[in-house]
C-alpha cells in the first residue's frame, strides 16, 4: 500500500510537468491542444534513443525537450498560418508524430526504419546518475531507519527519486509562474483571453500562439523523457490518452484549490497530477480491475472531477434556499400570531 502510493507520488511529480503543459494550452491559451499524445512519446522516444546511442542522459533529455518544442510549434503553424481549426491542428500533428516517433526510435537499430519500443534496462539514466551520488550520502538509511523504528514495515528503496523530481518540479513551477508575469507571458495570457485586445496593443497573436504551444509541448516532452528514464522503457503507446490525464490533473487541482492566482493554480495542477496518480493506484488495487482498465478508470476520474463540483454547488444552493424558505415561513408564522393576538385584543 505505502509503496504503491509512494510510487504514485514519484510519478505524479513527473507527470505534473506534462499537466503544466496542458494547463498552458487549455487554460492560459484557451487552445485545446491534442498534440500532447504525440509529443509525450516524442520526448520519451528521443531521450531513450539517444541514451541507447550513447549520449549523456542529460543531453538526451535536453534534445527531447527541444523536439517537443518543435512539435508544438508545428501545431501552432498549422493553426495560425494554415488557418486550421485548433482541435484538428492538434489531431493532425498527433497522428503525424506517431510515425515520426517510430522513426526516431528506429534510429537505434541498423536494419530497420521504425521501432515501437526501446528498453533502457541496462542503460544509465538521469536517475541512475543521480543515485550514484545520492547513495553515498546515506540519507536513505537515516530516513528508513527512522521509519522502521516507528514501526513502519514497508519502506521505499530510495527517497532519492522523490527528492529529485520534487526539486525539479518546484524549480519548473517557479520559472513557469515567473514567465507568465513577464511582458511576453502577459501577452500570451491576453492572447488566450482576448485576441482583439492584445492585437490592438501591438502583439503578434500568431507568434504568441506558436510560442505558447511550443513551450507547452516542450514541458510535455520533458515529462515523457523523464517517464521513459523512470520506467526504463520508451513505448509508442505511451502517449495514448495523455491529454485526458493532463486535463484530469488540471481539473482535479482546480476543483480543490481554485484558480484565484497563477501561482495558486500552477500549484493546484501539480497536486492534481499527484492526486490523479494516487487515485489510479488505489483503483488498480481493487480486485476485479486490471491494468488494461487504466484508460477506463482515467475517463471515469475525469468525469467525476467534472461533475462533482456541479453536484456540490447544486446541493449548496438547495440548502441555502431551504434555509431562506424556513426563515420566511417562521416570519409569516410570527406575523400571523401577532395579528391573531391583535384581533383578540
Amino acid at each position: 500500500m505505502f509503496t504503491a502510493i509512494f510510487g504514485s507520488v514519484e510519478q505524479g511529480f513527473i507527470y505534473a510537468l506534462m499537466a503544466l503543459g496542458v494547463y498552458l494550452t487549455f487554460r492560459v491559451l484557451d487552445f485545446p491542444d491534442l498534440t500532447v499524445d504525440g509529443s509525450f512519446v516524442t520526448g520519451a522516444g528521443t531521450a531513450a534513443a539517444m541514451i541507447v546511442l550513447g549520449y549523456h542522459p542529460a543531453i538526451a533529455t535536453l534534445v527531447a525537450i527541444i523536439a517537443g518544442f518543435l512539435a508544438g510549434c508545428m501545431t501552432g503553424l498549422l493553426h495560425t498560418k494554415g488557418k486550421i481549426n485548433p482541435l484538428l491542428s492538434g489531431i493532425l500533428m498527433m497522428i503525424a508524430l506517431y510515425s515520426i516517433n517510430l522513426r526516431i526510435m528506429g534510429f537505434t537499430i541498423e536494419n530497420s526504419v521504425g521501432r515501437p519500443n526501446i528498453p533502457l534496462m541496462n542503460e544509465g539514466t538521469i536517475f541512475s546518475q543521480f543515485f550514484s551520488w545520492w547513495g553515498n550520502l546515506g540519507i536513505d538509511e537515516v530516513i528508513n531507519g527512522f521509519f522502521t523504528s516507528m514501526g513502519v514495515q514497508y519502506v521505499p528503496k530510495t527517497w532519492g527519486t522523490v527528492v529529485i523530481v520534487a526539486i525539479l518540479i518546484i524549480i519548473i513551477k517557479l520559472i513557469f509562474d515567473w514567465f507568465l508575469k513577464t511582458e511576453v507571458g502577459l501577452a500570451i495570457r491576453a492572447t488566450g483571453d482576448n485576441k482583439k485586445m492584445i492585437r490592438s496593443f501591438s502583439a503578434n497573436t500568431d507568434t504568441l500562439v506558436i510560442l505558447g504551444l511550443g513551450l507547452s509541448n516542450a514541458l510535455v516532452a520533458f515529462s515523457g523523457a523523464l517517464i521513459a528514464q523512470y520506467t526504463k522503457a520508451a513505448d509508442i503507446g505511451l502517449g495514448i490518452g495523455m491529454i485526458v490525464i493532463g486535463l484530469a490533473s488540471v481539473i482535479i487541482g482546480e476543483a480543490i484549490f481554485g484558480t484565484k492566482t497563477i501561482v495558486r493554480t500552477t500549484l493546484a495542477v501539480i497536486v492534481g497530477a499527484i492526486i490523479y496518480r494516487i487515485v489510479l493506484a488505489l483503483a488498480l488495487r481493487v480486485e476485479f480491475l486490471d491494468a488494461g482498465d487504466m484508460k477506463l478508470i482515467t475517463a471515469f476520474i475525469v468525469i467525476v472531477a467534472l461533475i462533482l463540483p456541479q453536484f456540490f454547488e447544486k446541493r449548496r444552493e438547495k440548502g441555502r434556499k431551504a434555509k431562506r424558505h424556513a426563515l420566511r415561513e417562521s416570519e409569516v408564522l410570527a406575523l400571523n400570531k401577532s395579528k391573531e393576538s391583535e384581533n383578540l385584543a
Binding site: 513577464t182 502577459l186 495570457r189 491576453a190 482583439k196 485586445m197 492585437r199 490592438s200 496593443f201
Partner: protein, 265 residues
C-alpha cells in the same frame, strides 16, 4: 499625421450582397486634430476606422501615418502607434487578468516585449498615478480582475490604456454607445480630458450627434461610403443638430433616415 488617399472597399464583390463600403475616401488629419465622424448605419464609419487600424485592408488607396505608407502593415504592427477603444466594453481589456496586468500590456505597446516582469515597482507607481486621474477609485483595486469591473469602469480603463502611451493616432469606435447615459457622459468627459492632455490626434465615430458637436475641432458626415460633409474648426463652433440635418437633406435630397441617429440626438 494621418492621411487617407482614395480609399476604396467593396464587400462581397460579385455577389448579390455586394456593398460599396468605402467609395474613394480622402481625409487628412493634422497633429492635434480631433475629428468626429457621424452618419447613418452602414455609412462606412466603422469600416473607415478599421482601415486605419489595419483590421481591414483597402481594395486600393493609400494610408499614411506620419508620412509613412502603412497600407501593407499588419494590424499588430500598426497598433504600435495607434490607440483604439471599441464599442463593446468587453473588447478592450483582458477579463481574467488584473487591472495592473492589463495596464502592463498596454504599457509595452510601443516597446519590444521582453522577459522583463510586466508589473514592477516603478511601473506600479506609474499605473497608480494614471488610474488616479480617472477618479473611479480603481487605483485601490490594482490586483482586481478586470472581469469584475462594470462596463463603464472597463471602458474608462480601456480609454486610459489606449492613451497613456501617447499614440500618434487615437481611434474611438462608438465607445460610449453601449453605456447608460450617465456612464456615457463620464466616458465622454474623460475622453475630452485625456485627448486634450496629450494633444492626441483623434478620430471618433459616434451615433450621438450632440456628442459629435460637443467634442473635437472638426466633424465629418458620411453616407453610403462617402464623406459628404466636412466641417472645419470655425464652422463647427456654431453648428447645431438642426443645421446638420438640413445640410444632409440639402446634399442628399432626402431626410436622414436612421431612427437611431435622430433619437440619440
Amino acid at each position: 499625421m494621418l492621411k487617407l488617399n482614395d480609399i476604396n472597399k467593396i464587400f462581397n464583390e460579385g455577389t448579390a450582397d455586394e456593398k460599396i463600403a468605402l467609395d474613394r475616401i480622402n481625409l487628412e488629419l493634422n497633429i492635434g486634430d480631433f475629428v468626429t465622424v457621424i452618419g447613418s448605419n452602414g455609412a462606412g464609419k466603422s469600416t473607415m476606422l478599421n482601415m486605419v487600424s489595419g483590421a481591414l485592408s483597402p481594395d486600393f488607396g493609400q494610408i499614411l501615418i506620419n508620412g509613412n505608407d502603412v497600407t501593407k502593415l499588419p494590424e499588430f504592427k500598426r497598433s504600435k502607434f495607434i490607440g483604439r477603444v471599441f464599442q463593446d466594453p468587453m473588447s478592450g481589456t483582458a477579463p481574467t487578468m488584473t487591472i495592473e496586468e492589463n495596464l502592463a500590456i498596454a504599457y509595452s505597446r510601443n516597446k519590444k516585449r521582453s522577459l522583463r516582469v510586466g508589473v514592477d515597482k516603478q511601473r506600479k507607481e506609474f499605473f497608480l498615478h494614471s488610474l488616479e486621474s480617472l477618479h473611479l477609485n480603481l487605483e485601490n483595486r490594482l490586483t482586481a480582475k478586470v472581469g469584475l469591473l462594470s462596463g463603464g469602469e472597463r471602458q474608462a480603463l480601456s480609454l486610459l490604456m489606449a492613451t497613456f502611451t501617447q499614440p500618434s493616432i487615437l481611434l474611438l469606435d462608438e465607445h460610449t454607445a453601449a453605456l447608460d447615459p450617465s456612464r456615457a457622459e463620464l466616458i465622454t468627459n474623460l475622453t475630452e480630458r485625456l485627448v486634450k492632455k496629450d494633444n492626441l490626434t483623434t478620430l471618433m465615430v459616434t451615433h450621438n450627434m450632440q456628442q459629435a458637436l460637443d467634442l473635437g475641432n472638426r466633424l465629418i458626415m458620411m453616407d453610403k461610403g462617402q464623406i459628404i460633409l466636412e466641417v472645419g474648426e470655425e464652422e463647427k463652433k456654431d453648428l447645431t443638430i438642426e443645421k446638420l440635418m438640413e445640410e444632409f437633406q440639402r446634399i442628399r435630397g432626402q431626410k436622414l433616415t436612421s431612427d437611431r441617429t435622430l433619437l440619440s440626438s
